[in-house]
């Protein structure tokens, strides 16, 4: 064996032992959304860079929530990283269940995270989860159908304008619904949508003494407006439509307008999946005439580390990789700028390449229009736009939205639904000791 070979062998050996010492496996629980599945595809890049192996547990959103909540509240330790949202993060952070992300490396540039996202993923000023992507809500509409109806989308539309436009665009013969909106039960589905809609009609979940407000006229107005508009111009079975159902309706050309998450913009403009990719326009989420809040929500899917994991360092390395600028550049290089995870970093919206993406500006404007500290016109005792950041909210809002969905489906009247919502919310708030 020549010296060269020997050297080579020695180097190889040290490389092997070196990486063996580092060889760790982290387990990540995540949701089966498109951006996360894409991230899984790039895992090998991360492993090659760091020598850390990754095991993915990819679950549908409802199963994921159930799974990670059980694990974190029992300190089960089944996962090293959990994918959670803006609702869970401050609550879990306050309980001391998450590792604070206040010592991320300088190259990571934590200050680059959008201020709205940073605020929503912190508790007492400490960041507990790093946003993988962030979103607000906005109007996506068919420019061709708008034109056909002889209308023009205002830059800041009101609900009243939207309703009129929806009615004009509706063409039942050709299976075109003027507007598609979420009606599906579940706090993160129809519950989130009706909450921001109610906000934009001046309603609120609770008054300053934590009394439920479903007996107030604003809620009734919002629900009646929503149901009226959906009956005029919505698709059949809208009471069971969530994000995904509406996405495929829109992609198949069956909706004139769709008000939903800003991340959907890249799906509806992607010609591989969408039949209407080249005729989609965007506008700011509406408000009711005279109400100063718009129906903008604020959400982020973020990566957090449960306290007590043995693999904190490896987990941090992964989070720094997955939510970094470099990851965004990696995706941009391989799949185009329109497909990078949006809404997380300021620098993305300053990037000239990204500025040419049609929905970039509207996404940022929508995110900035949402204010979790002051979600409604009237004062509230809580933080959160489409949710109330208290542990009891998910359960309550799911049941409330189930009552609403039953009203959408015509199983009960709006008044009955509101009455039940009022009773069950107060019941649960009493059980939790707020009232």
């Amino acid at each position: 064996m020549s010296l060269k070979h020997k050297l080579f062998a020695a180097t190889a050996l040290s490389l092997i032992t070196g990486s063996a010492a580092l060889a760790e496996t982290i387990t990540i629980a995540t949701v089966n959304n498109g951006d996360m599945i894409r991230m899984q595809g790039y895992t090998d890049d991360f492993t090659a860079e760091t020598g850390i192996d990754v095991e993915w547990v990819t679950l549908e959103e409802n199963v994921l929530r159930q799974r990670v909540t059980t694990d974190i509240s029992t300190k089960g330790g089944a996962f090293d990283i959990m994918t959670i949202g803006m609702y869970e993060t401050p609550i879990w952070g306050a309980n001391g269940w998450l590792v604070p992300l206040d010592d991320l490396s300088a190259e990571y540039e934590a200050d680059d995270i959008l201020p709205a996202m940073r605020a929503g993923l912190s508790h007492d000023g400490t960041l507990y989860a790093a946003p993988f992507y962030g979103e607000s809500s906005m109007i996506m509409y068919r420019t061709d159908l708008m034109e056909k109806a002889g209308l023009e989308m205002p830059a800041e539309p009101t609900w009243q304008v939207i309703r009129e436009a929806a009615a004009k665009m509706t063409d039942r013969e050709n299976d075109i619904n003027g507007i598609c909106l979420r009606g599906k039960a579940g706090w993160g589905e129809g519950g989130a949508f009706i909450t921001v809609t109610a906000n934009s009609f001046g309603a609120r979940w609770f008054d300053e003494e934590w009394n439920a407000q479903f007996d107030q006229p604003e809620w009734k107005e919002a629900l009646e407006f929503y149901v009226g508009m959906m009956e005029e111009s919505g698709p059949a079975g809208y009471a069971t439509n969530g994000f995904n159902e509406n996405l495929s309706l829109f992609q198949q050309g069956k909706c004139g307008m769709w008000i939903d998450a800003t991340v959907a913009a890249s799906f509806v403009t992607n010609p591989n999946d969408s039949t209407v990719a080249d005729s989609v326009g965007f506008a700011l989420a509406p408000n009711s005439e005279g109400v100063e809040k718009r129906a903008n929500w604020l959400w982020a899917w973020a990566l957090a580390i449960p306290a007590g994991t043995q693999k904190e360092e490896a987990a941090k390395a992964f989070i720094e990789w997955a939510t970094s600028k470099e990851y965004i550049e990696l995706v941009a290089a391989k799949e185009g700028w329109a497909n990078v995870p949006p809404g997380a970093r300021t620098s993305l919206y300053e990037n000239d390449n990204y500025k040419s993406v049609p929905f970039a500006k509207m996404t940022l404007d929508s995110i900035n229009a949402a204010d979790p500290q002051n979600p409604t016109v009237k004062p509230v005792p809580y933080v959160g736009v489409q949710f109330v950041a208290i542990p009891e909210f998910a359960g309550i809002a799911t049941e409330v939205s189930q009552e609403f969905s039953a009203a959408y489906a015509g199983q009960q009247s709006i008044d009955e639904a509101l009455e039940k919502a009022q009773a069950l919310t107060n019941e649960a708030m009493e059980a939790a000791g707020y009232r």
Binding site: T69, S73, A185, T240, G395, I396, A428
Partner: protein, 288 residues
């Protein structure tokens, strides 16, 4: 035949199964009972002390409680009715001479192999979806307005899905029972030119009573705790919240383990009422 020796041996042999099941029943049951008297909120720091019967009172006085019991009974009853009636008809049909009986039998039992989650997903998306579901196309084909199955006919839909899963089971038990029916008896009746309907009422049905008992007993055990079908399709909305589902909402969605545990105790009580009812009313049939 049973000597003292074999008796003690028998006890010894039964011990592992009995002890294990006793443990399986007692350990979680004790823990459930323990939690049910506590204010236990995992998201608010866990154990917040004893609260007596508060959870029990709160659970049973909640507006959701009685509707959920009713829903449970309607689903169990509906599925039992459908599977028994169609099971008998199908068993009679399959017992007729025909070509390819073995293959037909495979086709009929196949749904039993399908995971509840998968069957719920397939039915929900590919059949009952009001826009892309096959049933919607079928309705449109005949010029009818597609049914919004999971919202407008939610309970019916869930009963349909669950019945589809359990029909094979009922059919097979009933088929086996029919095959054991003394054909001479039937032929004699045929000779007497008793009409087919009377033959069915007076000879076939009484013979099937034991098999029907088994179907009801086993299915009830499984049906009382169905969960995946509701979780996947409606998430408990549109009046499909069973007692099991209500407990799920309390424990996992509301993160109130104490309240949910009290619900669990009620569910155990309900299950035992149903069990006692079954044993007293139909259990006798099991002796034979």
């Amino acid at each position: 035949m049973a000597t003292q020796h074999s008796r003690s041996a028998a006890r010894f042999m039964m011990a592992p199964a009995v002890v294990l099941l006793l443990g399986w029943m007692l350990v979680p049951l004790t823990m459930t009972l323990y939690f049910s008297f506590k204010k236990y909120l995992p998201l608010r720091g866990g154990d917040l002390g004893w609260v007596g019967f508060d959870n029990y009172v709160r659970f049973v006085t909640s507006s959701a409680f009685w509707p959920s019991v009713m829903t449970t009974l309607i689903i169990v009853g509906g599925v039992l009715l459908i599977t028994v009636v169609f099971g008998v008809l199908l068993a009679i049909l399959l017992n007729q001479p025909m070509w390819g009986q073995g293959i037909v039998r495979i086709l009929v039992i196949a749904p039993f192999f399908v995971m509840p989650t998968v069957s719920a997903l397939v039915w929900k998306n590919m059949f009952m979806d009001p826009n892309y579901g096959l049933l919607a196309y079928l309705w449109e084909f005949f010029g009818a307005q597609p049914v919004e199955w999971l919202s407008q006919a939610s309970l019916t839909s869930i009963i349909m899905i669950v019945s589809w899963q359990w029909l094979p089971f009922a059919t097979l038990i009933l088929l086996t029972a029919i095959q054991s029916l003394d054909s001479e008896q039937l032929e004699a009746a045929e000779m007497d030119s008793a009409p087919a309907f009377k033959r069915f009422i007076y000879i076939v049905l009484p013979h099937l009573s034991r098999a029907v008992t088994v179907v009801i007993l086993i299915q009830t055990i499984f049906l009382l705790s169905i969960f995946a079908e509701i979780f996947v399709t409606t998430g408990g909305a549109f009046g499909t919240r069973t007692l099991t589902y209500l407990i799920f909402q309390r424990v996992l969605e509301s993160q109130n383990v104490g309240l949910g545990s009290a619900g669990g105790v009620y569910a155990i009580i309900l299950a035992n009422i149903v069990a006692i009812f079954l044993m007293r009313i139909v259990g006798k049939n099991l002796d034979a």
